[in-house]
């Protein structure tokens, strides 16, 4: 009996150490979007939403086959401004997607898998010698950059894949990459004992390190070089107007995705259905109506923002 009480006390101790989650209260500001899930699929989890504009939006998702109790399959959904259409994504390339044009998009996923959309179908390949997960991607035509939990980026130049390892990334683990319209590549740089920073590759190929501030940089977003965000996991987000980084407090929920629409509009999503909206002065909670984790947000000018996660796809009312 005594030992049973000890075990219960220990379990309680473990329970007390769960990470905190804060859910916004107030009127629900988001509504479900009905995706055309093909017959035979269920439990759709949206992993990544990206696009080149309101008439070229991609949703990358993992979904369970109802006739197969195995691992989830990949699905993608494309919105042309009027209609959503579904297409299977081969081989679990379900970590991240980056559209280049209506006839070119890139998706990445497990164990070196890269899938390319040619306007008609997805074709998957495995990067030779890469036996680990690909976590994020940005792309321009014949210019693709992939983060893969290592001290480098993987780069496709239209002919072959190579590792590009600027010395600033030595000893780090890169989980996210972000791209700007002019071809600039941004990467978080976090290293014990160093000020968290953003490593920036300009289109001419030069790398430059911008120190941000304490707290770590997990996600990157931006609408222009004068509107960049370096976002921490829970407590702080830094905004740059092109001259200096300025810290802004977050709500304390773990962020899993970010998007910046303009200097006065940006979004963060995260665990427990959390959504935070930047109004130009502060981050405001926005009630999603779900407590399921939200992984991704896409909010370009001219369309209602989309967020996605375990609850499927949601659109701001």
């Amino acid at each position: 009996m005594k030992s049973a009480l000890i075990a219960i006390a220990l379990l309680g101790l473990v329970g007390c150490m769960k990470k905190k989650t804060a859910i916004a209260t107030g009127p629900v500001e988001w509504e479900p979007v009905a995706l055309p899930v093909p017959a035979g699929y269920a439990k759709v989890v949206v992993k990544s939403v990206r696009g080149t504009g309101p008439d070229d939006v991609w949703v990358l998702a993992a979904a369970q086959r109802t006739d197969d109790r195995g691992a989830p399959y990949g699905l993608s959904f494309h919105f042309d401004g009027t209609t959503w259409r579904a297409a299977e994504v081969p081989a679990r390339a379900t970590k991240a997607i980056w559209p280049v044009s209506p006839t070119e998009a890139w998706a990445v996923g497990a164990y070196g898998t890269v899938a390319r959309w040619d306007g008609q179908r997805w074709t998957a390949t495995k990067i030779e010698g890469v036996d680990f997960d690909l976590l994020d991607v940005v792309a321009w035509h014949d210019d693709v950059w992939v983060a893969a939990a290592g001290p480098e980026l993987l780069h496709f130049d239209g002919a072959r894949w190579r590792k590009e390892a600027p010395p600033e990334l030595a000893g780090t683990s890169v989980h996210e990459v972000f791209g700007e319209a002019d071809g600039t590549v941004l990467v978080p740089r976090n290293l014990a004992g160093k000020v968290p920073a953003v490593l920036r590759r300009s289109p001419d190929g030069a790398w430059r390190l911008d120190e941000v501030g304490p707290g770590g940089v997990v996600h990157l977003a931006g609408s222009s070089p004068a509107d960049r965000w370096a976002i921490g996991a829970m407590e702080l987000a830094y905004h740059s107007d092109g001259r200096a980084w300025r810290a802004t407090p977050l709500a304390g929920t773990r962020t899993l995705g970010a998007w910046a629409t303009s200097p006065t509009e940006a979004y963060l999503v995260g665990v427990g259905g959390s959504i935070q909206r930047w109004d130009g002065a502060a981050w405001q909670p926005s009630a999603s109506g779900t407590d399921a984790d939200l992984w991704t947000v896409f909010a370009p000018p001219g369309m209602k923002p989309l967020v996605g996660g375990a609850a499927g796809l949601l659109r701001r009312k």
Binding site: K2, S3, A4, I6, A7, A9, L10, L11, G12, L13, V14, C16, M17, K19, D68, R69, G70, A71, Y73, G74, E88, P90, A91, R92, A93, G109, A110, Y111, G112, T113, A115, A124, T125, K126, D131, F132, D133, L135, A148, A149, G150, T172, S173, H175, P188, N190, L191, A192, G215, G216, V217, V218, G232, A233, M234, E235, R254, L256, V271, D293
Partner: protein
């Protein structure tokens, strides 16, 4: 698929093995985990072939014994254990810590293989050691967790890697299941998800494994009652005791005591007293209350 050892290392499927694994999958689903293959999708190439492609350089028994009846794949057992582990574990990975661990394992063990003596054609010749593989795992967990701390993705990921005795049991024992027609993947993945999740805190990982150690000791004590099973019981008790001591030491080293602060200080103090009196009490409670769990968990820990 299509590597040099893919056919030899194909997962076995028998009615009894698949029935067993259906039970494992149902149990893990009921507890919020997923022990299916990470990449079942037949439409594409994606799984991790590293341990199959490099199987001949892994440690463990295989053709070494020259005993076909003990030899499901004809390749070192460490290859099978790790292939099943990497392709079945860590399905849900919101912070990327699992991805980081997998990456570091491939990098570390790939470096160890590259450091082997070269044959006439310049290819690695021989096998890396058990300690190479164990060290690669310890480093991978630590490195991935430090990276998650550095950027704040998962500041509470502190669970240390499992003790070497349990790891050795998995490395050398997992393929035996496959010889019996049971795909070792689901239970290997489940056991790691439960008992060696790198995203757990030091405290929660320690508590899970102390329960396991207690269950092993309880099961071993039960076996000691029968002279025929007494030697195995003694070994099982020894495994549990070793695991308990090792895991406590590594959990403390990974900051477990530092986690016991603030509002839970009083509770932690009581737990500390309990710890001082020995992990046996915790394990005893669990094994007393659910001896069937003890047997099941005893098997699970042996698979990783």
């Amino acid at each position: 698929m299509g590597g040099p050892n893919d056919a030899a290392m194909a997962e076995p499927h028998t009615w009894w093995g698949d029935t067993f694994n259906a039970g494992v999958n149902a149990l893990t689903a009921a507890t919020g985990y997923d022990s299916h293959r990470v990449t079942d999708n037949p439409a594409g190439p994606a799984d991790n072939p590293f341990y199959r492609d490099n199987a001949s350089h892994m440690p463990g028994w295989g053709n070494t014994f020259g005993l076909d009846f003990l030899d499901p794949h004809g390749l070192p057992s460490g290859a099978t254990a790790q292939d099943r582990a990497t392709n079945y574990v860590g399905q849900d990975d919101p912070t990327g810590v699992w991805a980081d661990v997998r990456r570091r394992l491939v990098d570390n063990e790939g470096a160890a293989i590259n450091a082997l003596p070269k044959d006439a054609a310049g290819n690695p010749d021989g096998n890396i050691s058990f300690l190479d593989v164990y060290g690669a795992h310890v480093d991978a967990y630590s490195g991935a967790q430090q990276a998650a701390h550095a950027d704040g993705r998962d500041p509470t990921a502190n669970n240390s890697f499992v003790d070497p005795a349990s790891f050795a049991l998995a490395m050398y024992g997992a393929p035996l299941m496959e010889h019996l027609g049971i795909n070792a993947g689901p239970i290997t993945g489940a056991s790691i998800d439960y008992f060696n999740d790198p995203t757990d805190s030091a405290t929660s990982g320690w508590a899970k494994r102390m329960g396991l150690a207690g269950a092993e000791m309880g099961a071993g004590a039960a076996m000691m009652l029968n002279p025929l099973t007494a030697p195995l019981g003694l070994a099982t008790m020894g495994l549990g005791a070793f695991g308990g001591v090792w895991n406590t030491a590594t959990a403390v080293g990974n900051g477990m005591l530092g986690e016991w602060g603030g509002a839970i200080a009083d509770g932690a103090s009581a737990a500390g007293g309990a710890i001082a009196s020995g992990a046996q009490a915790v394990g005893g409670a669990i094994s007393d209350g659910a001896s069937w769990v003890g047997d099941g968990l005893g098997n699970l820990t042996g698979l990783w």
